[in-house]
């Protein structure tokens, strides 16, 4: 029941905002609703017992004739992503406060609608429902980016939309296939786990699903939609995309790929690992020379996500837990970075690093918060980034030493491009443009301080976070190994 509230509250909020809110009240309403849902999520967290079981599950018959049920529930893995969604959404809405968007009520309604879709994805236990959520999250972000985005937003977002939906259609094909294989004639995750497919079938299903997830994350070489989209989208859109939406791909892999077709995963993991690690280095290197800071962050995000993917496909406890923490951390850090860039953009109208400089002198507060976020991104011990990246690198290293070493380059490269851009933007002497820069104020402070606090708290005391998903991950791995050893 609580779960239904959790999922439908944002939807109600969306409708309410769309219909009743005025231009000026929209953001307030949206913020209120997102904070409610955060409260609900925290309530769930309190009632949540960190074991492997699926809790708060709700199961209604939805489309009887097609064996589709509205079956949702939360286990440790979902809990993390749900938290991610509901913690970040208020921050994102708050971050958009200083902007005045045309048709604000539509804008914020779409954000909330997307939140609902995301929550559906993260809690669905029915493949069809999962797919519905998957698309339901895509439509609003398309409209957000295409309506309020920057230059040549239409072309870019069309590409983004068709690219991602191409992946998801193949996933749909895979889902239908599994459904037809399923003697129980339904889309229940639990039933899918029980399926015993031979390894060729598993291989096909694996790719059908993986393409969808790979495009969403995105993993090299399916990433080319991402930098353009991030750069043209309005900042809240970029935050939603990078902070939460790409986690759909990661979550999908963990929940729908690994346990359902373990043999497929086993057979192909080497390829995926290779792609992922290539992506890690490749994107990092590209980030070196980026002139546009937003684009730079976009590439850095590709690099980080590549590492997460690599960690997952090691099928190791460290890898999966690492990816869990890193999902959250990356979400927090990346929206922090984008917010900082948005502040700069909105003040000075540019994100070209060469035109900036010396901001630290005129805006010390911004400089400090930016630095903390940046340290989180480059995974300095004591920040949230380190926990995840350490576990991930360790798992990759255990999977294959050289692969680990190559992936480890991200530690160096990350520092290079991040500190390069930091120097270009914040350090040095102020120029004509930046001399009159105003330091952060009001809501900006709230957002940035919250983010910094999260970064440090998670970095110093990650234990509770790790505990949430620990049992579930353990259970998942047991399932996989059982299938790998048990079946043919």
């Amino acid at each position: 029941m609580e779960l239904l509230i959790l999922i439908f509250l944002p939807l109600v909020g969306a409708i309410a905002t769309a219909l009743f809110a005025k231009q000026n009240t929209a953001k307030v309403a949206a913020l209120a609703f997102s904070i409610f849902s955060l409260a609900v999520a925290i309530g769930l967290l309190c009632k949540f017992t960190p074991d492997a079981s699926t809790q708060f599950s709700v199961n209604y018959q939805w489309i009887r004739q097609l064996g589709i049920n509205f079956h949702v529930g939360i286990d440790g893995i979902s809990m993390i992503t749900v938290l991610l969604t509901n913690v970040l959404t208020p921050l994102i809405i708050l971050a958009s406060y200083k902007h005045e968007y045309k048709n604000a009520n539509a804008f914020y309604a779409l954000i909330l609608f997307m939140q609902a879709g995301l929550l559906l994805v993260f809690t669905a236990l029915d493949a069809f429902l999962f797919y519905i959520g998957w698309e339901a999250a895509l439509i609003p972000i398309y409209f957000i980016c295409a309506t309020w985005g920057g230059k040549d937003r239409i072309k870019v977002n069309m590409k983004f939309f068709v690219y991602t939906i191409a992946g998801s259609l193949f996933m749909l094909l895979g889902i239908i296939y599994l459904y037809l294989q399923n003697p129980a004639n339904n889309f229940e995750l639990a039933e899918f786990y029980k399926l015993e497919l031979d390894s060729t079938q598993q291989g096909w299903i694996f790719w059908a699903f993986f393409i969808a997830f790979a495009i969403k994350m995105p993993i090299f070489p399916f990433h080319t939609w991402q930098p353009d989209t991030y750069t043209t989208a309005p900042t809240p859109g970029t935050m939603l995309l990078s902070g939460i939406m790409l986690k759909m791909g990661i979550y999908g892999v963990i929940r729908w790929l690994l346990p359902v077709v373990p043999h497929g995963v086993q057979d192909w993991s080497c390829v995926v690992m290779l792609l992922a690690v290539i992506g890690v280095v490749y994107a990092a290197i590209i980030a070196f020379m980026q002139k546009d800071a937003k684009r730079l962050v976009a590439y850095s995000s590709i690099s980080h996500v590549g590492l997460i993917a690599a960690g997952i496909f090691t099928l190791s406890h460290q890898g999966l837990q690492g990816s869990m923490v890193q999902m959250l951390s990356h979400g927090i850090n990346v929206i922090g970075l984008f917010f900082v860039l948005d502040i700069v953009q909105s003040r000075l109208g540019t994100n070209k690093v060469d035109e900036l400089g010396g901001l630290a002198k005129v805006a010390p507060q911004l400089a400090i918060t930016f630095l903390i976020i940046l340290l989180g991104t480059v995974a300095l011990p004591g920040t949230n980034g380190f926990i995840g990246e350490f576990l991930l690198l360790m798992s990759v290293y255990n999977y294959h030493a050289w692969l680990g070493a190559v992936a480890g380059l991200t530690i160096i490269f990350g520092a290079v491009y991040m500190f390069r851009s930091y120097q270009k933007i914040m350090l040095g002497e102020t120029n004509a443009l930046t001399a009159s820069f105003k330091d952060i104020n009001g809501t900006e402070k709230v957002v940035l301080y919250t983010i910094c606090a999260l970064i440090i708290v998670i970095g110093v005391y990650p234990k509770p976070l790790l505990q949430i998903s620990d049992a579930s991950v353990q259970h998942l791995l047991e399932q996989i190994n059982h299938k790998l050893t048990g079946v043919n």
Binding site: I63, R64, E135, F143, T147, L169, L172, I176, Y177, L180
Partner: protein
């Protein structure tokens, strides 16, 4: 039976009303008649009756008749000051549409091939005229002539097919034909096979499947938008119903023989329709090509015959009908203002007309097959249908086509919302609003809770 009678009577009454210059009364009369016939359709639900071995009013027939009637009803709502500018005597057009509807009801409920033929002809003859009602408009003339010539031509093949089948089985009754087939599948008269193929040709022409689709874009573009709406929704649905009755029923035993041919047709239709639609500037023409591609999806139900083939077609047809009607409603509305039916003329529509814009968007999403709209459920059941015996290649092709589809359907949405245009303000009459709202609600309802019509038949 009484459905047909009601419609026919309504038609005549309207005609007379027209004679007595009762302009005001026409629309109410028509709508009333349609409602009554719809009422009959609902009443006789679950009580299949056979009339003189000629017509079989079963749930299948009733469901499709119902959809056709509802579709026609909505389209009639759009006739508000539509025909007025063409000619003084609107009544005739109403009558013709109603007679066409009669033919359609016969088409969906025939039990005897002669009835099929008669239904098809009644419908077609009316449409030939309706396509050309703009006597002085070249496009309208051309549309009507092309439609007529090719229609007559294709009827020839339909008839030849019927003749051969008659020759092979000695009966026009589809049940008898089926029994003949079932009893000796092994040694069917060689006349039968060309018969099937020729009938397939005839029907493919009616539903506009490649390579017998060529009339569709031209006629759809040339004919008055309202008639195009009628043709592309109600008529098409009826064509599929007829197709289904024959091929899923009588010819089912020879599925292995005609399926490969149909498969090829399906694939050509899909690719041709979608890819060609991609480059169209004209909204109407784009819809014409999209209707071709939808014909491709609809034929999925025949590529693999399953228990739910018929209901799948029903779902898809319903989704498609409502979406198209919305599209045409907005189109007519816009054209009245701008005088053009290019996609550009939709630019910046959303600024002044949020309702129309929203409805159109949802319709496009439905046509494109985005989840939570009826169109998605339609596509989904079709995919499910063919995947029942693992036609994966076909589905992959369909998926690729769907992707192409997204491009051109979203072109419209982009025009409506993101393109800057002269901010026209439509004067949307009440009926239009009703149609838009109702259809949109239906689309979303079917998308969220399709159980309503799934397995209806």
């Amino acid at each position: 039976m009484n459905i047909i009678i009601t419609i026919a009577v309504t038609a005549l009454v309207v005609l007379y009303a027209g004679l007595f210059k009762a302009k005001k009364a026409l629309l109410p009369l028509t709508l009333l008649g349609l409602l009554v016939s719809l009422g009959f359709a609902i009443c006789s639900w679950n009580q299949p009756t056979v009339h003189f071995g000629m017509m079989q009013i079963d749930n299948f027939a009733l469901a499709f008749a119902g959809i056709s009637i509802i579709g026609t009803f909505l389209i009639f709502l759009l006739t508000q000051r539509y025909f007025a500018e063409n000619s003084p005597n609107v009544a005739e057009y109403f009558t013709l549409i109603l007679f066409a509807l009669c033919g359609i009801v016969i088409m969906v409920s025939y039990k005897n091939l002669s009835m099929l033929f008669i239904g098809v002809e009644i419908m077609s003859v009316c449409l030939y005229i309706l396509a050309g009602i703009r006597k002085l408009n070249f496009a309208s003339n051309e549309a009507s002539l092309k439609y007529f010539l090719m229609g007559a031509f294709s009827t020839g093949f339909l008839l030849f097919g019927i003749a051969l089948i008659y020759g092979a089985t000695g009966s026009f009754d589809i049940d008898v034909i089926q029994n003949v087939l079932v009893n000796n599948v092994s040694n069917v008269s060689p006349l039968f096979y060309p018969g099937i193929i020729l009938m397939m040709v005839g029907l493919c022409f009616k539903v506009g499947a490649a390579p017998f689709h060529f009339w569709t874009p031209d006629v759809y573009e040339g004919a008055p938008s309202l008639i195009t709406a009628f043709m592309s929704t109600v008529v098409k649905t009826a064509g599929f119903a007829a197709f289904l009755r024959l091929f899923a029923g009588a010819f089912e035993p020879l599925h292995d023989f005609w399926m490969p041919a149909l498969m090829v047709i399906v694939i050509i239709t899909l690719c041709l329709g979608n890819i060609t639609a991609l480059y169209q500037k004209n909204f109407k023409r784009m819809l014409a090509y999209s209707s071709i591609s939808h014909a491709g999806y609809l034929l999925f139900s025949l590529v693999v015959l399953t228990a739910s083939s018929a209901s799948n077609v029903l779902v898809y047809a319903a989704a498609y009908t409502f979406a198209s009607i919305v599209a045409f409603a907005v189109l007519i509305n816009v054209k009245q203002k701008t005088g053009s039916d290019d996609i550009e003329s939709f630019n910046g529509l959303a600024k002044r007309n949020p309702l129309a814009a929203l409805a159109l968007t949802i319709a496009m999403l439905s046509l494109a097959g985005i989840p939570l709209t009826a169109g998605f459920i339609g596509k989904y059941v079709m995919f499910l249908n063919v995947l029942e015996n693992y036609q994966i290649i076909l589905v992959v092709i369909a998926i690729l086509n769907a992707l192409v589809g997204f491009y051109y359907y979203f072109r419209v949405i982009i025009a409506v919302y993101f393109k800057e245009g002269k901010e026209i303000e439509l004067d949307t009459p009440m009926q239009y609003k009703v149609v838009l709202v109702v259809s949109t609600i239906v689309i979303l309802l079917l998308g969220v809770y399709p159980s309503l019509i799934l397995n209806l038949i």
